[in-house]
Assembly symmetry: C2
Homo-oligomer: 214 residues x 2
């Protein structure tokens, strides 16, 4: 009982440190953020941050993994059963709502982790691959359920998933970083992307691809 | 004449240093790349690199600006006159051909400059905005030339351009970094994206948007 009592506050305090670190890294970037700032924002001493999270690199890595898990979890939780366009629409709303609601976490992943050295970039790439794989499966199911012949091959489906995920990331960046030029809300961004992507995918599923010679 | 004679070799040597720096930064990243390596690859002494380019930061900045200009120039040069889908198709082929043909320059921009500190990220964002603005104009022209009513508003057109550019970047990343899982050639990537994007945009231009309730 005693040991359990001591573990609980540690877990809680660790979460407070991670919350503070995500905010600080997200707003200031990896290099500019200092451990002093993060400890102050978390309301703890700097030695305690080092005791719990070991180093600035380890702390940043913990932030990246936590935020990646939260983003993937938000998308999975948002996807509703139903026809493929319903699934995609609900998943996109979940993605944009999470990005809009956690702008610092989004910045840690998409502005800072992405290229800040090997281990973080690897975590970022793993998260991205998980999302692309998930979307690939969704598109493959939609293709199987449709009447189109010939079915798009595996590589084509993977390419469509890469395109869709890239489009979503780009719109999320506009939403979160481009406020000056009338950036959209999460719901508008999801609607925009459905309009762009689904009408196109729908055509493909109906066997009406674009062709340079048509 | 004498002064001109001295300037020419300097310009040539500077280009050699930039070529070597783009290769080194592109393959190893900003932090891991050393000035020793770059000087050796350029076949000059390290003091000469510092004399010409001043510092590692300045050298990296010069690489980012040169590669950004080359990428935007390649897209502009590739766009052919004709109907909007022809313009987009030719521009996309230009984009993917350039990304496939200059993988180190592409990596400098998309893997390293993007988030490596303020001045480089700013140059990267400026390049991206130039491309988005260009694509926005293309989509706006297509909408004006079509019969669709109501025309998509300015923000919607801007959103479509952000989505299209993000999709292209994502496919270029797959093409350049994802060789293990059967990544596409430049021409395949351009065709994939036309299939995805144009059939969708075409529907929009014909006044057939996607709707969650249809």
């Amino acid at each position: 009982m005693g040991a359990k009592g001591r573990r609980l506050p540690r877990a809680v305090r660790e979460q407070q440190m991670l919350d503070a670190a995500v905010t600080t890294f997200g707003q200031r970037g990896y290099r500019a953020a200092s451990m002093d700032e993060i400890a102050e924002a978390a309301g703890v001493s700097k030695p305690l941050v080092y005791l719990y999270l070991n180093s600035k690199d380890d702390l940043f890595g913990a932030c990246v993994r936590r935020e990646a898990e939260a983003l993937v979890g938000a998308v999975r939780a948002a996807v509703e059963d139903g026809p493929p366009d319903r699934q995609l629409w609900s998943g996109l709303r979940g993605f944009f709502a999470h990005a809009a609601g956690s702008p610092d976490g989004w910045a840690v992943l998409y502005l800072h982790a992405r290229t800040h050295g090997e281990p973080f970039a690897r975590d970022f790439v793993a998260m991205r691959e998980e999302i692309v794989t998930y979307v690939t499966r969704l598109i493959a199911e939609a293709a199987r359920a449709s009447d189109c012949e010939p079915k798009p091959d595996e590589r084509e489906v993977s390419g469509l998933a890469h395109a869709l995920v890239g489009a979503a990331e780009s719109l999320a960046g506009w939403m979160n970083c481009g406020a000056r030029d009338g950036a959209p809300s999460a719901k508008e961004a999801a609607g925009l992307l459905m309009n762009f992507a689904w009408a196109g995918l729908d055509n493909l599923m109906q066997g009406r691809p674009w062709s340079p010679t048509r």
